[in-house]
Every structure is written in C-alpha cells, then in structure tokens.
C-alpha cells in the first residue's frame, strides 16, 4: 500500500490532490466522495458583496478555456452561516480562499474567518481580474511581502499564498511570501489571456481579458513550479492544467508537494479521485513507498543552476 499522505507545513493531507479555488462547490458531492480528497478549497470569498463580471464569462480555446468570472461573493456572514457548517460534515481539511482590495482588507478578512473548521487560508493575491489591467499583489515581491506580513499577523492558521503566473519575478515573489511567513505557495493562478470573436469583432469575454487554464498552460506552469520549488523551502502546490495522473506526477517531480485540479473537473468531474487512484498505482508499479518521495525527484544531471540562469525569468 502506497502512503499517499503529504505534509503542507503542519497540515497533513491524506492525498496530494485537491480542487483549485473557483472550480469547487457542493455540486461535486454528487459525483465524487469528497472525503477522498486531500483538501477542499472554497471559491474565493471577499468581505464585500460582489455580483461578478458581465457575461460571457468563459470562452474555450484549443486545450483550455479563458474565464473571467469576477469573484462573485456573498460576503462573510453567508460564509460563516452556510458554507462553513456545510463542510463541517467532511473529515477533509477545509482551505478557505480569500481576497481583498487592500492588505488591511486581507488581514481583517483572515481574522474574521479564522474559526474552528477552517484548516488553512489560501490568500488569493493573484486573481488577474480584480485589479486594473490584471495587476495584483503577487505581481512583485514587495507588495507580496507587505500583504503576507499583515496576513501572518492576523491569523495563526496555516497560510498559503496563491501566486500569479503573470510576472517575470515569480521565484522572488515566492521567496517574499516565504519570508513573510507563508506556510506554502500555490503556483499558480490563471495566465492572463484574451480571445476575439471574428464574426462580431468583439472580445469573447464580457470583461475583455480573462485567465487561461487547462492542459494548454501546463508546461508553462510546470516550469514555474520547478523554479519556485528551487527558490523556497516551504511546500509548493502545483496548479495549472493538471488533468490526469501523469500530469500530477510530473508536477511532483518538478517539486510540487501537492497539486490542485481545476479545469479538468469541468471535463471529467471525477478527475481528482481518478488521479488519486492513479498515483497509488503509479507508485506501486515503480516500487515507490510514499507518494511524497516523488516531490522534487526530477533527475537533472546535465545542467546546473548557472547554466540555466539565462532562461530567467
């Protein structure tokens, strides 16, 4: 029997597979057994009530989709009264994704939702839709460190920073999150993207730009996970186009301690539990006792760091 558990800071996950924020809600309970997942990750909540972006909110492109949902949020009371009690019935750790327009706002929200039943906070400091032109805290190291320090002071819960792939400074941003006290970094959010309708000449999304996800972005984010895993000592959680067991293994070899699955769930709603089963089989076949042994196990004999430096960022 393969040991599928992984350690994210003080938190032990029964398996290294969890949903990506924004692609998980109670409906999935009808398709898969949520108790089998490594963690449950909520949609991002905000203090303010948000209706979300104008439609269309999604457009498909070969190998993926571009979305611009705009973080619809029913606010903190709805979360405390409905969402939190709802997930209390599951033994799977609940990770709550939060976002705010300011560092103070992030800290206040983190304090408000630091309640029994919440296993960790994922600070979505990277959503490309919130800020003008897709700019976000995680675009640079200084603003990342500032917001993460305020968050660290506001809660004693494990704190994950969800980083944006839309920066050339990603390893520096990851280091800044670590320096400010993050327990893990999630690499990464969606890649800022766009599509135009050739009949109407209009952008395909109501918000003009959106975030790309799906298999098409996997090689890009895999490279970023590899870079971040070499830059920090805290766990890296890989997120970007994971669709099957092989993708999850590849991410773990690159240095991810766990993976988040998002868009794949839209195509195969049981993708996460299929990957968990697949990881156990993969490890058995390769005689690997613990799935955690895959983490960072990429064999890189030829190139050393100085030779790779020209590839930066």
């Amino acid at each position: 029997m393969t040991d599928l558990s992984v350690q994210i800071g003080d938190l032990t996950l029964a398996s290294p597979v969890m949903p990506a924020s924004g692609t998980f809600a109670e409906g999935l309970e009808r398709v898969i057994d949520l108790n089998r997942l490594g963690a449950l990750v909520t949609k991002t909540i905000t203090r303010e009530l948000r209706a979300g972006n104008p439609l269309p909110r999604v457009v498909e492109r070969p190998g993926g989709l571009i979305n611009s949902i705009g973080i619809p949020s029913k606010g903190v009371p709805h979360f405390l009264d409905h969402t939190l009690p709802y997930y209390a019935a599951y033994r799977t750790p609940l990770v709550v994704s939060i976002s705010a327009p300011t560092a103070e706002g992030f800290a206040e929200l983190a304090a408000e939702i630091s309640r029994p039943g919440v296993a960790a906070i994922e600070a979505n400091i990277s959503c490309p839709n919130i800020e003008e032109d897709g700019r976000a805290f995680a675009m640079n190291a200084a603003s990342t460190e500032a917001v993460m320090r305020q968050l660290r002071a506001a809660t004693s819960l494990p704190l994950w920073a969800k980083l944006t792939p839309n920066t050339g400074d990603l390893p520096d941003v990851a280091r800044a999150a670590e320096a400010a006290g993050a327990d893990a970094v999630v690499v990464a959010n969606t890649i800022l993207a766009m599509a135009i309708d050739l009949n109407t000449f209009k952008p395909c999304l109501g918000n003009v730009m959106g975030g790309m996800s799906g298999p098409a972005i996997k090689p890009i984010v895999l490279r970023q996970v590899y870079q971040c895993a070499r830059a920090v000592r805290i766990p890296v959680i890989g997120c970007g186009g994971v669709s099957d067991t092989e993708d999850a293994v590849e991410y773990m070899l690159a240095g991810a301690t766990a993976v988040q699955v998002g868009t794949a769930t839209f195509l195969q709603p049981a993708a996460m539990t299929m990957i968990i089963d697949g990881l156990a089989k993969f490890c058995e076949r390769r005689d690997i006792a613990r799935v955690a042994d895959l983490v960072g196990a990429v064999v890189n004999e030829e190139a050393d760091e100085p030779e790779l430096a020209w590839l930066a960022p």
Binding site: E26, G27, V31, V58, P62, F266, A270
Partner: protein
C-alpha cells in the same frame, strides 16, 4: 411517474460527508450510441444506452456531452443537452439536436455502437404538482425537445396536456407526433403560416384559460412567448415553470459561468442555470 425536484437540500448533502456508503447520483460515463438519425432538415435524434443512474433522468434535466473532436473542430468543454426522452428499463437516453457548431457537428458523426461520454443527470427539472388537471406547454426551437418528456410524465400523472409548438416552417416542427402519441392536444404555429406571433398565441392561450384547460404553464425556447405567458399568468394567477438556456462550462454549479438575472422578492439576483435550474419559476425569469 411523478416528477420531483432533484436537488438535495444542503443538510441532506452534508450528512453524506459522514456516511460510509457514499454513492454517486451524477455520473460521467461512456454510453453506447444506439441510433443517431436525421429527422428533418435541421434536427437529429440521438439515442444512447447508459447506466441506471444516468437513466434516472427526469423531464427538464439535462446532460453534459463530451462531443467528439472531428476535422478542424476541437470542442474543449462539454455541451449541455436537454433530455428528450428516457427509458429507465432499457436504460436509454434520448436527445434531439440541431447541428449549429463545433459540438453538434461532432455529435452528428456518431454511429450506432460508437461511444459517447455523457455526464448527468444534471439540474432541477419540471415539477408536476398533484393539483394540476391540465397544463399548457409552449415551446419553440430547443424548447421543443426540452418540453417533450413532460408529455409522458403528465400522462402518467393523469394530467391532460395542450402543447403549442412553434417553428419557422411546418416541416421543421419536431415533437408533434410524440406529444400526440402521449395523448396531448397539439396546436402547431409557424412563421410561414403567420400563426406564431405573440398576438395569435395569446388568443389561443386565452381560449384555453377560458375553457379551464390551463392549471399551469410550461415554457422553453421563446422569450417573446414567455412574456405573453408571464402576462397571462399574472392576470389569471396561473403558476408556471420555464426552462432557461445559457452558455455553460462545468454543469455542476462550480464555475458560475452560466448565471442569469432573476427577479426574486423585489430584487434582481443571479442564479446558476446549470444548478439552480435550468427550470425556474416562470414569474422570476427575466426573458
């Protein structure tokens, strides 16, 4: 057969978290194509054999189909397709579709014995209340398929049906024979015969109401006709249900891509067509 709302309440679902005997009530599976035939110049009729869970689908519910990639078309997301018919004993699930884009072009290539990845049953379907004695369904376009399963469900519940079916031309009407076979009275209205306009449909509806043959409205596929029904529903205090359409991604209420505005208690609220619907209270819908 009686028709119930399918969505379990939050408390029921939450209990599932503690149960050892969890089981799926929505499945994504490879179904086998039984037939896929052209029925007129626009529509095709697809029949697949699925699992027992898939074949529990109820009128108004839908499936998300992973359409085959063919030629230059690479549909990435699943495509929502409303249930046209179901036979739980044969485990057969039927769809009616019009080839309009990359997804349906792929569906049109399917042959008997091919497999098709279907996910469902999804969403909240129609509700036939025990108090209804006669109902009126009004459909056009995709609505002709979505409303069709109501014919048998109503007959099984002893409810009589008048179906007002609308299309551009008489030869493009679908579901007429199906409704008639289940004992429904069919009123066909078409653009080419100048009978499909809101004024004429309103005349027909007023006559049905006056004859006591309209305890409830069921609608799908026409905003213009929905407005007529809403006006009459308000005037005569008749309840109604409408199946709404919207572009979808996940089909499970996860992504919030398919929200629409609804008028609820004096407020405009967003609801997910895939999970909170696709069938909604007619008076809350904004055409």
């Amino acid at each position: 057969m009686s028709v119930h709302h399918m969505s379990a309440s939050a408390s029921e679902v939450a209990l599932g978290g503690n149960r050892a005997d969890w089981s799926a009530s929505i499945v994504a599976e490879r179904a086998e194509v039984a037939s896929n035939d052209e029925i007129n110049a626009e529509y095709r009729h697809l029949v697949v054999r699925g699992s027992e869970i898939a074949a529990r689908a109820l009128p108004g519910q839908f499936f998300q189909l992973l359409c085959p990639q063919t030629g230059g078309d690479q549909p990435f997301l699943r495509r929502p397709m409303s249930l046209y018919g179901v036979d739980p004993t044969q485990r057969q699930i039927e769809f009616l579709y019009k080839v309009t884009g990359a997804g349906t072009r792929g569906l049109a290539t399917l042959r008997p014995r091919d497999s098709l990845d279907i996910m469902g049953p999804l969403g909240v379907g129609f509700t036939l209340s025990p108090g209804f004695r006669s109902i009126v369904v009004v459909g056009r376009g995709a609505g002709l398929a979505t409303l069709a399963p109501l014919a048998r469900a109503a007959r099984d519940s002893g409810i009589s049906v008048t179906a007002i079916l609308s299309a551009r031309r008489p030869e493009l009407l679908v579901s007429v024979d199906l409704f008639k076979r289940e004992g429904a009275q069919v009123v066909a209205v078409t653009d080419s015969e100048s009978t499909s306009g809101p004024a004429n449909v309103e005349r027909i509806l007023r006559r049905l109401i006056a004859e006591g043959r309209c305890d409830a409205f069921f609608a799908c596929g026409s905003s213009r006709l929905l407005r007529v029904q809403q006006r009459l529903a308000r005037e005569f205090g008749i309840p109604g249900q409408v199946a709404m359409e919207q572009q979808m991604a996940c089909g499970l209420g996860l992504c919030y891509c398919c929200v629409r505005d609804f008028h609820v208690g004096g407020e405009i609220v967003h609801r997910r067509v895939c999970w909170d619907g696709p069938v909604f209270d007619m008076m809350e819908a904004l055409p």
